[in-house]
């Protein structure tokens, strides 16, 4: 277990939950950690967090006082920005499950998801999955689209297009 990491989290939680500056003693007092922590340990953790840029320190009368640099939500937002690939990211730091998707591609995906009986989409060898595959494969096929665009693609469309909105939202609700 990453002991130090856990401690850093606990300390950040204390700072995020507090309204203003806290001294290290106050932080230690508010920590509800499994074991009692030495004051110096808390100081060390605060020091590490300051070096990492998550905590700022202010010289008070006799002790230092600490404050979280950013609100918790801001830190989450920063992580999400990097995760979505919109921060200044050269692409290799994180390996994303799905990259950016254009609106047209999303439309294709939505249509595929809206295939009838989409709950059985995952069943092995069931026809709806094959249909979804057909929609996508046809969308991705290079030549098939060009000579006869309407005739090729309109097959599965009129039926399921009307359902697409409903099925799409269904897909996002707990089942």
């Amino acid at each position: 277990m990453a002991r130090l990491g856990d401690l850093e989290r606990s300390v950040m939680d204390v700072l995020w939950d507090s309204d203003g500056w806290l001294t290290a003693r106050e932080v230690a007092a508010r920590l509800h950690h499994e074991r009692d922590l030495a004051y110096t340990t808390v100081l060390t953790v605060l020091d590490r967090l300051e070096r990492k840029g998550f905590v700022q320190r202010q010289r008070a009368a006799r002790a230092h006082r600490y404050l979280a640099v950013d609100a918790r939500e801001a830190v989450v937002a920063e992580a999400m920005l990097e995760a979505l690939g919109t921060a200044d990211d050269r692409g290799s730091a994180l390996v994303r499950f799905v990259g950016a998707v254009t609106a047209e591609e999303a439309e294709i995906l939505r249509r595929a998801l809206a295939q009838p009986a989409e709950t059985d989409f995952t069943g092995a060898g069931d026809p709806s999955a094959d249909e979804a595959a057909a929609v996508l494969a046809e969308a991705a096929a290079t030549e098939a689209v060009l000579p006869e665009p309407d005739g090729v693609s309109s097959g599965p469309e009129p039926g399921d297009a009307g359902r697409s909105a409903a099925s799409f939202t269904e897909g996002h609700e707990p089942n």
Binding site: A79, A87, G91, L94, V95, F97, T102, L136, E143
Partner: protein, 436 residues
């Protein structure tokens, strides 16, 4: 001198036409592992050939045969007479060797360093804000939820840990022993970000790899899809796929003006995703993973532009529908799709690629065409990699991945064999050329 010329020619071939061809090839999707090895061979041989070409050029005055000339020059170096026997042209070559080598390795080192720093920072972010999921916590949370039905008030920050049990485990099973039923249990280094947008990614590392999912992902995906996504990310982590991509990123940063370098990075990134897809499909099922991909692909465009920042990888590039009805979650989509599906859809507008009339069918037709174009012409930066550059709008490889999962391509046995053989051949060519 002919050796130098031959090596330079081979390096040029490996730097331009070969990557372009390979980036556009479809057969690579059938055997991603062999294709990745081929890509690595191309990159390695290209770099080695470029360096050797300049070296051969430098030592050409010393001897007719390049290896002999190199050893001769090394002797001179050891004897403290580095310049003996070289004319000014050779010294120019020496300078070029030094410049090329320092550029190649310098960029590799600096980009690796930058990546490691960014990763470490990101790991800090998710460690401090993300929730763990431990098995004890999962069992406790499940039991508590079953007994108290959320009577236990909103989450307290101190108890935020372990509270995100996926809906699969909470919904149906109840307190059935926790562990075995929960999709999230048993994944070391998993972090759950409290954010409504659905994302899943991994922060690679030797001992500190993290798989990060968001609350939005847990509420979007069903249990089987979640399992498939996690299997995919685990495959990235255990396969150290970041190490595969890293040299290509460095190549791209070394020669940012070379289109093939961008295409290579995009192609290798896609192949790596397919490799992880294959692993996840073996552990779960290809169709499940395909559905997860499609669901997440749809949600990626549902993100309001403001929360993403104005980098333009989603909405801005590109003449998308003026009315925005093919955009995120347009309520008018079904109607438009129906009308577009009818045979009276405007054929003429499709060829132009100009104004797209918000008709979903037409839009997807056009997207299909765009996909086709991106496959044959292999636009650079396909996918998530680089939104910022002034390149053509990027095409995400998501659809080709889904198609591949739903309808696995038949792979003739000789495809991977040929790819491996080609890799070996490409790697031996520099050695053969040296003996010319």
């Amino acid at each position: 001198m002919t050796t130098a010329a031959a090596l330079a020619l081979f390096a040029a071939v490996l730097a331009w036409p070969v990557p372009r061809l390979l980036a556009g090839a479809r057969w690579t999707h059938g055997c991603p592992r062999a294709a990745i090895v081929l890509w690595q061979a191309i990159g390695l041989a290209g770099g080695v050939c470029a360096l050797l070409a300049v070296v051969a050029f430098t030592v050409a005055p010393l001897s007719g045969s390049t290896p002999h000339g190199i050893s001769h020059h090394l002797h001179n170096l050891a004897a403290g007479r580095p310049m003996s026997g070289l004319d000014w042209l050779s010294i120019l070559g020496l300078v070029m060797v030094a410049a090329l080598a320092s550029r190649l390795f310098g960029v590799l080192a600096s980009s690796t360093y930058a990546t490691l720093r960014r990763r470490s920072h990101h790991r800090n972010l998710v460690d401090l804000t993300g929730d763990d999921h431990t098995e004890e916590g999962c069992a406790a949370a499940t039991a508590a939820r079953a007994s108290a039905r959320r009577a236990a008030a909103p989450r307290l920050h101190r108890h935020r840990v372990q509270d995100w049990t996926p809906r699969a485990a909470t919904g149906r099973h109840g307190p059935s022993g926790g562990g075995g039923e929960c999709e999230l249990c048993g994944h070391a280094g998993l972090r759950i970000l409290d954010h409504p947008v659905a994302v899943a990614y991994c922060v690679p590392g030797v001992r500190h790899a993290r798989v990060v999912v968001s609350r939005g992902l847990l509420t979007t995906l069903g249990p089987r899809e979640l399992r498939a996504v996690l299997a995919h990310e685990d495959a990235h982590v255990t396969g150290r796929h970041d190490l595969v991509i890293q040299p290509f990123i460095a190549w791209q940063q070394t020669f940012p003006f070379l289109r093939p370098a961008w295409e290579a990075t995009a192609a290798v990134s896609l192949l790596v995703e397919m490799l992880a897809d294959d692993v996840a499909a073996r552990r779960t099922s290809g169709k499940t993973l395909a559905k997860a991909l499609a669901q997440l692909g749809v949600t990626r465009t549902l993100v309001p532009a403001g929360t993403l920042g104005a980098t333009g990888d989603l909405g801005t590039p590109h003449p998308t529908s003026p009315g925005g009805s093919s955009g995120p979650a347009g309520p008018g989509t079904p109607r438009n799709a129906t009308s577009a599906g009818s045979p009276t859809a405007p054929r003429g507008s499709m060829g132009t690629g100009g104004p797209i009339l918000g008709a979903a069918g037409a839009a997807s037709q056009r997207a299909a065409r765009g996909l086709a174009a991106s496959r044959t012409a292999a636009l650079p930066v396909a996918g998530s990699v680089e939104p910022a550059e002034a390149d053509p709008p990027s095409r995400s490889p998501v659809i080709s991945r889904i198609v591949r999962l739903l309808d696995p391509p038949a792979v003739p046995w000789w495809h991977p064999v040929a790819a491996y053989a080609a890799a070996v051949a490409i790697l031996t060519v520099p050695a053969l050329l040296l003996t010319l």
